[in-house]
Structures are given as structure tokens and as C-alpha cells.
Symmetry: C2
Subunit: 165 residues, 2 copies
């Protein structure tokens, strides 16, 4: 998304494309929170993203080929955002980020259990979750009928929430 690339190193290019923290936060919420509308992304934001920043990042992520925007067939006046294949392939990177963060930073238990499941499930679980995302965002049917990675993450999250009360 940057105009000029400082080097052709793949780590540098990834940081240039996604290096501002809000872009990955928005992708995280589309990916793990299944928030597909502007209002959901805004109102449910754990980090309290400002509406002008959210609007700007959605625009930049669309221009960068990470998300697409379409009219929601069920609410004509609303736009629905979908992850592209390029963004879906960020699952291993977000899993690595969650695994490192929950170990080295003061992460809360409730918001860490999904990262823990992703870490323990490893590449096989990431592949399942990516197949689910392809179904939900790209309309590509998920192969197999086994338990969903997202159900596992949701159940663990709800259990942690219940423990918190």
C-alpha cells in the first residue's frame, strides 16, 4: 500500500503493506470476530477504533487488495466487507503474533484463549480455519464436514468469559 518500496525484502514489504497497527486490527476483527459491517467493526472494537480511522483503513485495505466491499444482499443500504485470499493467508502470521503476545505481554486470559487454540492446533488447524474463511468470505465450499476451527475458538472464548464472571 505504500507508494515506494524501501527494499525488496519480504519482511520489509510485509511491514510496509501492513505495518500500521490498525490495518491488522481491522483484518483481525473481520477474520476472528466475523464482523462484516462498518457498524459492527466500530461498535464492537476492543481497542475503541475511531470511525475516521476505521473508514480510512477499510479504504486502504480495499485498495491494497486485502478486502472487498459489496452491497449486502440482506440489507441493501449496508456494505459488507469480505477478506480476499491474500488476507486469508495472513492466518499463520496472526497466529504467530498471538502466540508471541500471549507469552511475552500482559494479555488478558479471555482474549488469549483463541490464540492458545490456534497455537496448539498448529498448521493443520490454520488450514481448517482458512478453508472456513474461504467459505464465508469467498463462497468457496469448505471441504469435509468435521468440527469447525471457529467453533473450537468460540467455545473456548465463551468458557473463558464465563469463568471471568
Amino acid at each position: 500500500m505504500s507508494e515506494t518500496q524501501r527494499s525488496g525484502c519480504p519482511i520489509n514489504l510485509t511491514l510496509e503493506a501492513l505495518g500500521d497497527r490498525w490495518s491488522l486490527i481491522v483484518i483481525r476483527d473481520l477474520m476472528f470476530g466475523n464482523r462484516r459491517h462498518f457498524r459492527e467493526l466500530l461498535n464492537n472494537s476492543e481497542e475503541g477504533i475511531a470511525s475516521n480511522i476505521l473508514a480510512d483503513r477499510l479504504k486502504r485495505l480495499t485498495e491494497g487488495g486485502f478486502i472487498t466491499r459489496a452491497d449486502d444482499p440482506s440489507h441493501k443500504q449496508k456494505a459488507i466487507y469480505s477478506l480476499t485470499e491474500k488476507a486469508i493467508q495472513l492466518v499463520p502470521l496472526l497466529a504467530a503474533m498471538g502466540a508471541w503476545g500471549r507469552r511475552h505481554l500482559p494479555a488478558t486470559r479471555t482474549l488469549s484463549v483463541r490464540a492458545e487454540i490456534l497455537e496448539e492446533g498448529g498448521p493443520a488447524l490454520w488450514a481448517d480455519f482458512m478453508a472456513e474463511l474461504r467459505e464465508a468470505h469467498l463462497g468457496i465450499p469448505r471441504p469435509g464436514t468435521g468440527p469447525k476451527a471457529s467453533d473450537q475458538m468460540r467455545d473456548a472464548y465463551l468458557a473463558a468469559l464465563a469463568e471471568e464472571d
Copy 2:
């Protein structure tokens, strides 16, 4: 390294700690380029980091517990920087970043071969590389005497450089 944390989500915390692109670039150069002195980090920078930005990021990374600074025993007037355990454990995250970037962004061949080796080697190679880094940066002897992950990466990088000519 941020003063206030926007949420306890481990992905958010990781982005808050490392979300500015230059911090991870400096860690990358300490990690994969074995650049331990200010001048090396400055003069060999593929991205042309400015000296004031480098100085600021070295300070912030030190404060954040990612690197330590000591007098170099072989050059009394020079400081030598070392990665901490916390930073060494970023290897899988940087590997995921390199793997995604070389696939989805216009990375150059020469600067991608090390990312390719890390991706193909997977968690076993990352563990070997982390053991090497612990030896070089923390003085913890590397177990075993097998071939070094860094030699594999260096050989591939030099071969790609030679092909470029």
C-alpha cells in the same frame, strides 16, 4: 512500549509493542544479518534507515526489553547490541512474515531465499536458529554440533547473489 494499552488482546499488544515498521526491521538485521553495532546497522541497511531513527529505535527496543546494550570487549569505544530471549522468540513471527511477503508482494529473489529456507524448514529449523541466536547473543551454548541454520541461509543467499550477477 506504548504507555497505555488499548486492549489485552495478544495480537493488539504485539502490534502496540512492535507495530512501527522500523522496530522489527532493526530486530531483523540483528537477527538475520548479525549486525551488532550501530554503524553496521546504519551502513548496511537495505532500507536506508536514518541515523536518528535507528538511534531512537535502539533506545525504545532496549527500554522494551527486546535488546541489551553493552561495551564491546574487542572495541572498547563501541557498544554491542544483543537480542534478548523475548526477541529471539520472534523468529516464528518473522518467518511467517517472510513467507507471506515473498508470496504476495514483489519481493526480490535474493532477499527472499532466506525466507524460503525458513518456511521450508518449519518449526524444527526455527528452533535450531533460535538455539544459535541464544549462543551468539546470550552466551548459552548451542546443543549439538549439526549444521547451522544460519549457514544454510547464508549459503542460499550467496548462491542467489551469484546468480544475480
